[in-house]
Amino acid sequence: MLAVSTLLFNPALGQKIRSDKKEKKCVICHAQWHVDRTQEDQLIPDIETNIFLDGRPAMVSNEEMCLSCHDGYVLDSREVFNSANHRGDLDISHLKIQGLPLGQDGKIYCGTCHTPHALKPDQRGGLAPFLREQVTNSTLCLDCHSNQAGDHKNHPIHVKQPANHKLPESAFFGDNNSVECLTCHPLHRTQAAYGVEGNDRSELCSACHSDYFNIQLSDHDLPLVAENKKGGLPFSMSTNQDVCATCHSSHAGKGPAIWAMDLKPSDGGNAVCLGCHSVEGSGREKAFKHAGHPVADEQFAKDIPVLGISAGDRILCTTCHNPHQWDSTQSHQLSSANEEGTEFTSFLRLPDDETGQLCTACHDNKRAIIQSDHSTTRAGFEQYFAKSGQVRGQCSVCHETHAAVNLKVENAAEVADLSKTLCESCHGITKSNPSQAGFNHPLGEDLGIDFQLPTNGGQLTCITCHDPHIWGTVQDTSLTKDLVASDANSFLRIANWPEPQLCLTCHEDQNSIMMTDHDLGDDQQNACSVCHSAHKAQGQYGILSVWDESAGNTYNESFCFSCHQLEGRAADKIPEAWTHPQKYRTITPNLRGSGKWIDFPLFDHDKPNKTVGFIDCFTCHDPHTWSYNDLLAKQHTDNDEGDFMTSFLRNPSKQTLCTDCHGPNTLWKFKYYHDPQKRLRY
């Protein structure tokens, strides 16, 4: 009965739907096209002119139409409508939007980005979810945000997602897993973006840039520094600005680092750093002094992967420093209190630790120091560090990076020889370290020759002969500690064994000793060091080595007789007579105007005398030269018997000063000088 009455009296039942299926398919959303739209009592609100496309009314459904299905009863988009992002009340007056429909007052609404006429997501080329253009390559976003399309002003898009990102699974990635606009700006969520709390987007940034997030609590955590630092920062910061946004602007930034602050073009690649680390910047306590290790001007010749450097890159502040990480080992507590850095901290990319990681990354030719006696790990340095309070870095113990002088010497500007002073800070003559007491190879002398060894303004210094980074260029190049020094190592800059190359670099004229009977080098010593000691010599003249006591009354005699004696190496070349009356002192050739002093050097008992002296062994003999005549130069050490033209004699007798006293007898005196009988006869 009920059914019958329903059929009878319900005017709606059995009535043919006025609009056919085809019409309804469109009118289900385009209500304005309904055939009853012209009826006076129709119920559709005025929707004809509330959507515009490029300024003209468009036949596009409005937001209320979208909501009429997406309110949960056809599709559930309640959360989307409630989303804080891309609501219709956005101010878009600064955007140039073309080809996309806008709602009343020119504001965006659902239909600006979406259309049910897009291909379904599961269809080939489909745009999910019913979008007007692709978002997988950010095209749709950039239609409106075209001012953010250019590179170098914005965070890059279309780049591959980081392998270990911490974004939630729901995070959006584009074609080929690329980072796109929606990766950071997930629309239609109640939360604006992952990890964003108010103005603080640092958690979002750190989801991909986790390494950079080590900046927290460091002196580059500027919001925190502003709180901790007495007097705050010398520039204003908007409240609640996060640690990332203080320096970086994801959009409309400056330069590759999307820098939020102004950059000075003249600072080039270091402008980001110098913006703060200048004398008037917020990091003025650590102002860059434009001195020390070079930056900007030099280019790398090779790749240095450990620092992320490619050949051709310029040396910048960021080559050594990582502004996001105070401590590369992450083992030091942070305070944001502008604490003084060490070789482990100081925003260094790598520590200057016992292996000198940072410096040797580029200066790999200095790596040999690590296992040498100059390594800071050896016991002696512990005392030094304790006493001086210096940093312990393998390199920074001696080198200063950001000073005009790259050596760590106090009052460097007033020091004449920096490297000598630095060397002496350990090798100085002190009660506790008497190692260098005695006579040494003279320093500070003007070499007057042009060669490729380092000097102190052209003058000889420690590093002329020594390279403190390499124990030996011939032997023991990387061996460890407390080795017995020899001519083959001893931190000598040039190989000095078996040939005395280092010595001969300066003393080239002494090369004549080679292959003579005085070439006494062995498996430890070269031809020079048999007789000479650069350090701890017996005396300053000739820096002659200390020998056991031997016969002889003069400085020369005692030295020569150390070999030319019965027990000596030159036992078969012992002169039977040799003395010259010392009471007759002679004026030297240079004073007489007849030649150079070295032509016939004269001596006191313990040293040369450049004015008046007596005749000694070296007066007539030059132990370095077998013959003054090059044609008679010795080619082998066969202990030949010499004559008046050889025998290590300096000059032809006719040019000597002997004639002044000995007149015509000079020749005989000279010839029989070492003959005890005949020398008396004449």
């Binding site: 009920l2 059914a3 009455s5 329903t6 059929l7 009878l8 009296f9 319900n10 005017p11 709606a12 039942l13 009535q15 739907i17 006025r18 609009s19 299926k21 309804k24 289900i28 209500a31 309904h34 009853d36 739209r37 009826q39 009592d41 129709q42 119920l43 559709i44 609100p45 209320e64 139409m65 909501l67 009429s68 299905c69 309110d71 949960g72 009863y73 056809v74 559930d76 309640r78 959360e79 409508f81 409630n82 109640t190």
Partner: protein, 285 residues
Amino acid sequence: MKILLILLFLVFSLVAQPAAEIIYRFNKGQMNYPTDIAVLQDGRICVADGVNGRVLVFKKSGKFKELRFPAMQRPLGLAADLNGGLLITDTQADVIILLNRKLKVNSIIQLLKVVDATDVLPVSGDMLWVVDNDGHRILIMDRQGNIESEVGRKGSSGPTFNYPASIAQDSKGQIFITDVLNGRVQLFSEYGSYYGQVAKWGITPGSMYRPKGVAVNENGAFVVTDSFTGVIHYYQSQSSKGALLSTREHELIRLKNPLGVAWGNDGILWVVESGSGDLLGVKLN
């Protein structure tokens, strides 16, 4: 006979067009896109505030308390249970939550993911009619979730649906189901027999564009909300010609995306205005 039929038609189609007045407007701005409403036996009014993951329970004074349960994520449909409790459908969590009189969780029915339960109706025999919106059908299940039968399929004629939304039952057992994109209300017996439809799809009075909420009072009068046109259709009975709620001044009452609707024990008609997030109390004279 024809004259008799015409007379009968005129009698039944004489509609006392009620003058309506909005006398309550609660909670402006505190709810976000609320959907459904149910009036409990004790007169309290429950509103599904799904975006905020809660159900609000109002007194007529406007004071409210909120219900949250671990199993509830985004509630959408509500129904007063026959035992004085409350039934909640959640399309995000795919559950139906059964609350007792004290509004404590009694049991939870876990639905299959494919079931999009936008509303539920308790019927005699401890059975539930569950509106499967995406499935274009009604699932009839026991309170453990065992489906005993289903009603309808996708279509536009006869006992079919194109996105069924809400469900209600009159005192005689007849069941009313809004059929959103078909623009009508489908009528069924409690046993699933199809009785026919009320209204048609359209944009003029007597037709519906986006019917969503439906509620029947003890006298058989029922109302249907139209979320796009914003009007509330009023039917004195299922056989009467529909009217639109208007003020005394014959001004049509237009709401901003009205959805769920329910009769209060005192005759007040409670309507969820989803677009504004408000709960409205409408007095009909």
